[in-house]
């Protein structure tokens, strides 16, 4: 017996761990192939359910005994649905296959599982180092990441608590109960953990403020009301490894002395709701949540609250109001929730990623965490990178990595030989940064200084064919629709911003509009009640600052440099390139604007054209005859023959 067995709270946990290890050994040592399928919402949306069904049928058909292991999301969106096949008998290491549809599943079952041929042309890489197949650890999309929060995502079954425990989960609990809440807070403070919800407030300090409040009617809330367009890391964590969040939540409750915890998760994330609810039930059954956890006499109840569809409820005071049964509208702070929060009790509200960072800190120590990232922003940042990059997805990197490394090294740069134009960081509250900022290190302070913000970590990369005015209009449209309507600046001010932007994108803007945009943005920032309003003008402010020429082109030349604003563009067909007799564009035009000229080439009737761009897509690349121009007057006029030609009928 090791000395640890004599320590309080250890024996109960060791028993659980032993059960987990036994199960894990049975799974790992079974002499059959294992098929790991990513089954988070993103995987399912790409067809993982069909892939799984296809594997099941194919295995039955070929009479192969294999285990299908459903795991969460690994963060490689471009590869969904992904499958890792571990077939020890074949002599190959575990192999990562991207984009496995039902057909590929059938083929892999037959050729690899039954006949031992791994089909090299479909392989992304091996998950272990070996002599035969390139190891994925050699690819920059894999090896430049530093996974703290997402370490186990995509490797364990999120619906089985034993897999998390076998991988080292909940290990921090016995040791935590041996220490005082003050020591836990001290460790979080020493680690320098900052809230991952966007603002970057010191987590340890928040806990300390709540712990110092008198009484024990306190509450802790996990904020999983992720609502930024294009951000999905909280969902992925809840769907792929809910227990790491619970472990952090238990630590938080213990540290501040709360006995009630709530997970506020959006109802639009049905799978996340299901996994976290199941995780709470499993943890309760093992006595890791509930009364007298591991014999420590610490009690904690965790509930799930379904947030129903308001972006503003991610703001902590609005979140509290909505739990209390009121309309989700923010309130003025102070008092801060740590003084007077839910039902008037001191309440700590932490983001999913913040809580998921807690267990690794408690396990490895504050010094270890400090070594990752920068001095002022220790730890890792998770970004969901979408838009014009080769390898989009979720990426966890140490703070301080430059935007250039992130976009060009890790994500593979901009596809189709296009040039980089801008990156929008932090969703509707963030800003649009140009190329000059690519060497900015990613941390809370540098991004804020540049005019963007960490936000929840949404990042949209845009190539040269992007109109920053239209992007701002898109985000303002979002914030205006999601404004709760409480305060004057946000309710009415953002509406004015939106209508001005709409006017500019239609080519009806005036120089006075640009001045109005800037002044109004400033007032909305200074005058609004909550964070949503204060940050709503950020997309406008930053694009006006860094892409002024885009605005000026719209206003003074009625030209859209990114060629996105439909009223300011026109399509025409280059008669030099158009092939006689090819009808590809005619068939795809939804409004019959494409006609045949006298020499059997094609023209576009500008009065009918709705500028959908379908003809440009349909035109065979060897001709590449459809052209897009802005302003629309640049399109040459091609006369439509008065009488329809015979072959047009």
């Amino acid at each position: 017996m090791s000395p640890a067995d004599h320590q309080p709270f250890q024996a109960g946990f060791d028993e659980i761990r032993k059960a987990a290890a036994t199960r894990q050994r049975a799974f790992a040592e079974a002499p059959v192939p294992r098929i790991h399928i990513g089954m988070a919402t993103c995987g399912i949306a790409s067809g993982a359910l069909e892939t799984k069904a296809a594997f099941e049928q194919a295995l039955a058909r070929h009479g192969i005994d294999a285990r299908i292991h459903t795991v969460g999301c690994i963060g490689h969106c471009y590869a969904e649905p992904f499958v890792i096949i571990d077939h020890p008998e074949s002599g190959f290491p575990p192999i990562f296959y991207p984009e496995v549809n039902a057909g590929k599943a059938n083929m892999l079952t037959k050729l690899f599982l039954a006949e031992g041929d791994p089909r090299f042309e479909h392989i992304l890489g091996a998950t272990e180092e070996n002599d035969m197949i390139p190891w994925i650890g050699e690819f920059s999309r894999f090896n430049q990441e530093k996974r703290v929060v997402m370490e186990k995502c995509g490797h364990i079954d999120p619906e089985d608590i034993y897999e998390y425990i076998a991988a080292g989960g909940y290990e921090t609990l016995p040791d935590m109960f041996r220490r005082s809440p003050k020591e836990i807070i001290q460790q979080i403070n020493d680690a320098g953990l900052r809230g991952r919800g966007g603002a970057g407030f010191a987590t340890g300090l928040k806990w300390e403020l709540a712990a110092d409040q008198p009484g024990d009617a306190k509450r802790v809330i996990c904020n999983a009301d992720e609502g930024d367009p294009g951000a999905y890391m909280d969902r992925t964590i809840l769907e792929s490894n809910p227990h790491q969040v619970l472990e952090g939540l238990i630590a938080c409750a213990y540290a501040v002395g709360a006995h009630k915890a709530i997970i506020y998760v959006r109802a639009e994330y049905p799978l996340a709701v299901r996994t976290i609810t199941k995780a709470i039930r499993q943890a309760s059954e093992l006595g890791l949540i509930g009364n007298d956890i591991l014999g420590s006499s610490f009690d904690l109840d965790i509930e799930v609250f379904h947030g129903s569809g308001a972006f503003v409820c991610g703001e902590e005071t609005a979140l509290i109001r909505s739990i209390e049964g009121f309309r989700g509208m923010p309130r003025h702070r102070p008092p801060y929730p740590v003084e007077r929060g839910l039902w008037g009790t001191p309440t700590v509200i932490n983001n999913v990623k913040t809580l998921a960072s807690v267990a690794p800190i408690l396990k490895n120590g504050a010094a270890w965490y400090r070594k990752i990232g920068t001095d002022n922003s220790p730890g890792t940042a998770i970004f969901s990178i979408v838009g014009d990059v080769v390898h989009p997805g979720l990426i966890e990197i140490p703070m301080g990595v430059s935007l250039r490394t992130l976009i060009f090294d890790i994500c593979g740069g901009i596809p189709n030989k296009k040039k980089f134009k801008a990156v929008q960081i932090g969703g509707p509250s963030g800003g649009c940064l140009p190329e000059e900022f690519l060497d900015t290190p990613i941390d809370f302070d540098s991004l804020t200084e540049a005019g963007a913000m960490m936000g929840s970590g949404g990042m949209v990369v845009m190539n040269e064919d992007t109109c920053t005015v239209d992007i701002s209009r898109y985000f303002l449209d979002f914030t205006q629709k999601e404004s709760c309507g409480k305060c004057t600046f946000c309710r009415i001010g953002t509406y004015h911003l939106l209508t001005i932007l709409e006017r500019i994108t239609e080519g009806k803007g005036s120089p006075a509009d640009l001045k109005n945009l800037a002044q109004l943005s400033q007032d909305i920032k200074n005058g609004s009640l909550c964070g949503l309003g204060k940050t709503a003008p950020n997309p406008v402010v930053t694009s006006l600052r860094y892409f002024k020429e885009d605005y000026e082109a719209h206003v003074s030349e009625k030209r859209c440099p990114g060629m996105m604003c439909r009223p300011l563009i026109a399509f025409y067909i280059d008669l030099e390139k158009c092939a006689r007799g090819c009808d590809a564009c005619v068939g795809c035009c939804p409004v019959e604007a494409v006609f045949t000229t006298r020499n059997r080439k094609k023209g576009i009737d500008q009065s009918l054209c709705v500028k959908c761009g379908e003809c440009m897509v349909a035109c065979p690349p060897e001709y590449d005859a459809v052209r897009k121009v802005s302003p629309p007057e640049l399109a040459p006029i091609i006369e439509r023959p008065a009488e329809p030609l015979k072959d047009e009928k």
Partner: protein, 211 residues
């Protein structure tokens, strides 16, 4: 009692008093719409009662501050006035300025503040946006005029105080936000007919008892 200075005057007032109330009680006018004396947690939603307090780098709504001893408050700095003017202009940019036919004419919070801040009722640089529905007759005893309403929420507050649970609520989002009656006129208690606290609290005659 604490002593504080507001602009040129010295005020002596009970500790814990709301700063906006302290100013108004001492005849120092600060534009405001949504504040009602005695509120436990003022909504601070109209964004008009901005003041500058020494030691704070940006204007703050006076209704969200408790008086402190030796506090130095300025109610008329350029920063304060700019925010107040913008807020009022924004409210007027969605307001049906038709004073001649409005029962609140000459007894209207918007008129008073426009006069005080010296701005025109019809803005030159902001477009006018009115909601499509001019009047909501859904309530058995009340008429609601969305294009007059400034969404200060006073009606909701007084209704809750009178009826224990409110008959009124904010409805919809963003620019479309209005005061709603929970959709079911039958649910309103008969006391609505005689209470009328909401209509009396309305600063702009957006809620009126049905004739």
């Amino acid at each position: 009692m604490v002593t504080l200075s507001v602009d040129a005057s010295k005020i002596e007032i009970a500790a814990g008093t709301n700063l906006l109330a302290a100013c108004l009680q001492n005849d120092i006018y600060v534009p405001n719409l949504c504040y009602i004396e005695g509120m436990d947690h003022p909504p601070a939603s109209c964004r008009l009662c901005f003041v500058e307090i020494e030691g704070k780098d940006a204007p703050v709504p006076a209704c969200t501050v408790e008086v402190r001893h030796d506090m130095a408050v300025r109610t008329d700095t350029p920063g304060v006035r700019r925010l107040q003017k913008t807020a009022l202009q924004l409210l007027l940019s969605v307001h049906d300025v038709d004073c001649k036919n409005c029962p609140a004419n000459r007894n209207c919070a918007l008129q008073d503040m426009a006069k005080f801040l010296k701005i025109a009722l019809k803005s030159k640089h902001l477009d006018l946006f009115l909601k499509k529905s001019k009047i909501d007759l859904g309530h058995p005893f009340l008429e609601y005029y969305p294009n007059r309403c400034v969404l200060c929420g006073r009606c909701i507050y007084v209704c809750r105080a009178q009826q224990a649970h409110t008959q009124l609520t904010f409805a919809k989002r963003g620019f479309d936000t209005v005061i709603g009656f929970f959709g079911n006129p039958q649910s309103s208690p008969p006391s609505c007919d005689t209470c009328r606290a909401c209509a009396e609290a309305c600063p702009v005659a957006a809620l009126l008892p049905k004739p």
